[in-house]
């Protein structure tokens, strides 16, 4: 198995994990129920003004992001690797911003959001590596 193939599979696996997290939070949002939470702040974060962007749940935007990453992995040329890196870096940047909001503004931590941020950070690192490597 080539290094490029290993990177692609690793990103796909991580994106599936992220998809599960974002899917769960999207379900929670539309079901109007409280997420399972060990950090105590999930409902507060989910109920804050930052849980939606222009009326769209951030969880749904994240879900679409992970779907986009998985779709871009199926494009076997440089444009696909570029798209993966672009979506992942946007996801990484916005996740960092949301984590800052949790710590500095909302004053609550949501384990699912942190989990998604960690997954997106790993995907971004691998996607950049994959873009720079010759397949």
């Amino acid at each position: 198995m080539t290094a490029d193939r290993r990177l692609t599979l690793a990103i796909a696996a991580l994106a599936l994990v992220g998809l599960g997290i974002a899917g769960y939070l999207t379900y929670v949002h539309y079901s109007d129920i409280e997420p399972v939470c060990t950090t105590g702040g999930c409902a507060k974060v989910q109920g804050s003004q930052y849980a939606e962007l222009a009326g769209v749940p951030v969880a749904l935007i994240g879900l679409l992001g992970y779907v986009s990453i998985l779709a871009s992995l199926a494009i076997p040329v440089e444009a696909g690797r570029t798209a993966t890196a672009l979506v992942a870096l946007i996801g990484f940047g916005y996740s960092a911003y949301l984590t800052y909001l949790e710590l500095g503004v909302i004053d609550a931590i949501c384990q699912w959001c942190v989990g998604s941020a960690v997954v997106m950070t790993a995907i971004a690192a691998l996607a950049v590596l994959r873009l720079l490597r010759v397949p």
Partner: protein, 240 residues
């Protein structure tokens, strides 16, 4: 990877990073990224927290100063002054969760008693809040005012400011609210709140009272001003 190809890929990565940074910047601004706390509107800028306030109360029945199911087993009464910073902090950080967990679920109804002891801005804002309550939108108006609270007694609660807040509340007729704010009914509502505060010995805001349905109001001794703390009291009273 040869040198030329390597440089090209680095340039490509640089472009991707720049585009990603721009997109993240736009997203952060769109989500209220410059919102660093309660503040006056000033300069014609848009309202803070408008979507969240309307979402918090959407679809929940209101009758005057009360929000929630009239048959709810517990009633919580909150005394506020619209200029009170701790009231604003509670409204911004805790109220959405409290409404979501206890009002939407029919466990409690909330009553808002608006006091106006902090100054002229409190009185001007309180009058409009009372008028908004006549349209069953008092909670949204107060909550949105808190989200945009300005410097105490700086004269920021002008008709223009109050109209902008009123216009930010879904279903509230802002023109009517500002006109009704000067009517005897609004004055009477504020006087009732002040009389209740005096009877109950309220000396600061926010102060919370609660009772089981049909019972006597008791002041909530909250260790911390959080939805969890108020919710625990609701659970206690509701479980009696």
């Amino acid at each position: 990877m040869n040198t030329g190809d390597g440089k090209r890929r680095l340039w490509l990565l640089g472009g991707v990073v720049v585009v990603a940074a721009l997109v993240v910047g736009v997203l952060a601004l769109a989500s209220g990224g410059d919102d660093d706390g309660p503040q006056g509107l000033g300069g014609g800028s848009s309202l803070q927290g408008q979507a969240e306030v309307n979402r918090t109360f959407a679809g929940i029945p209101q009758q005057g100063i009360a929000v929630g199911d009239p048959a709810a087993p517990v009633t919580v009464v909150e005394f506020v002054d619209l200029q009170c910073p701790f009231c604003a902090q509670f409204a911004r950080a805790e109220l959405p969760e409290l409404v979501r967990r206890y009002v939407r679920t029919g466990k409690a109804r909330l009553e808002l008693r608006v006091l106006t002891f902090l100054g002229e801005d409190s009185l001007r804002a309180g009058r409009v809040a009372a008028a908004a309550a006549e349209q069953d939108r008092g909670w949204q108006f107060a909550d949105l005012f808190f989200a945009n609270q300005g410097q105490e007694n700086s004269g920021y609660a002008t008709d223009e400011f109050l109209r902008e807040v009123a216009e930010g509340v879904d279903g509230l007729d802002a023109d009517r609210a500002l006109a009704d704010a000067q009517q005897p009914a609004a004055t009477a509502q504020l006087r009732r709140a002040a009389a209740a505060a005096e009877t109950l010995g309220v000396s600061s805001t926010p102060t919370f009272f609660a009772s089981r349905r049909g019972g006597t109001l008791e002041q909530l001794q909250l260790g911390e001003l959080t939805a969890d703390a108020v919710g625990a009291e609701i659970d206690r009273l509701g479980g009696q």
